[in-house]
């Protein structure tokens, strides 16, 4: 009977090609996990520190409101995901959030606001949530100081 594929030499030569293959796969893996953002967050927002909060659950459905702070004008700018919205269009925003919520009772409103933002601007976002029938509110913060 023919033997298995045992090579004649005891030590097989190291193959560079499969090694590079593996390294590229690892590289792609790290690239993908660092860029995979389910939520479209605004990178210009400087979040406050909330070290005792729970880790953000990206799987749970949430409406994301980004509130950035313009220091020069002292005004807040609102974005739903990455789309800028007009804060005076209360009905339009509430309708959009309501449509997104649908019949999902666990749907929550995730607020990412700049640490310098004033509470009245946060309150406005909460009003939209209330109008859309969303009472689960979550505030975003970083686990450590920037």
């Amino acid at each position: 009977m023919a033997g298995g594929g045992g090579g004649g030499e005891g030590e097989p030569e190291f193959q560079v090609a499969p090694m590079i293959d593996v390294l590229l796969v690892l590289l792609i893996f790290f690239m993908s996990i660092t860029s995979a953002q389910v939520l479209k967050v605004d990178k210009n927002i400087s979040l406050p520190v909330a070290s005792n909060g729970v880790k953000r659950d990206d799987k749970a459905a949430a409406g994301l409101i980004n509130i950035s702070w313009d220091k020069t004008t002292g005004q807040a700018k609102y974005k739903i995901d990455d789309r800028e919205i007009d804060p005076n269009d209360k009905e339009g925003i509430a309708k959009e959030l309501s449509d997104r919520k649908g019949t999902n009772e666990k749907y929550r409103l995730l607020i990412r606001a700049d640490k310098e933002c004033h509470a009245k601007y946060i309150s406005k976002a909460l009003e939209w949530g209330a109008e859309a029938g969303i009472d689960n509110i979550a505030f975003s913060g970083l686990n450590k100081e920037e």
Partner: protein, 147 residues
């Protein structure tokens, strides 16, 4: 003229030891960098005025934490935190005690964080973070209308 001697082996062969060296350095780099990664945490609250009225319920102990424009924190009008106090140890201790007392008497503790219109958001988050540390989950957030 004498020619330079040709190299005996053009391919010196792949060296596994330096390769493992490099891989270990890369691994160490990722391990160290993993500690510096900043992740987003979230603090959960509910909107005020969402009580069920269909059945008879015990009225919960209601506590109001005020956040002023200047950064002062009050607990039912009593000052518990100065503007620079980020950890709010005093508030934490009182909340912990209130939480334990509510647990023993089997009542629900309801905390309302009431911020002034121009109070800074990070100060509100300081308070919510302190409540999360004290394991207080029933928190509502409201902004007082000063107009």
């Amino acid at each position: 003229m004498k020619q330079a001697p040709e190299q005996a082996e053009s391919n010196p062969g792949f060296q596994i030891a330096p390769m493992i060296d490099v891989v270990f350095v890369i691994m160490l780099f990722f391990m160290v960098m993993a500690g510096a990664v900043k992740v987003e945490h979230e603090l959960k609250t509910t909107l005020p005025g969402n009580a069920e009225t269909a059945k008879e319920t015990d009225l919960p102990d209601e506590v109001t934490i005020g956040v002023s424009e200047t950064g002062d924190i009050t607990l039912n009008e009593d000052p518990v935190g100065a503007p620079g106090d980020k950890l709010l140890e005093n508030l934490y201790n009182q909340m912990k005690q209130l939480g334990q007392a509510a647990e023993q008497s089997k009542t629900k503790l309801l905390i309302t964080v009431q911020a002034e219109e121009n109070a800074r958001y990070d100060r509100v988050i300081n308070v919510l973070d302190c409540l999360a540390k004290a394991n207080i989950t029933n928190v509502t957030f409201a902004v007082s209308d000063t107009e």
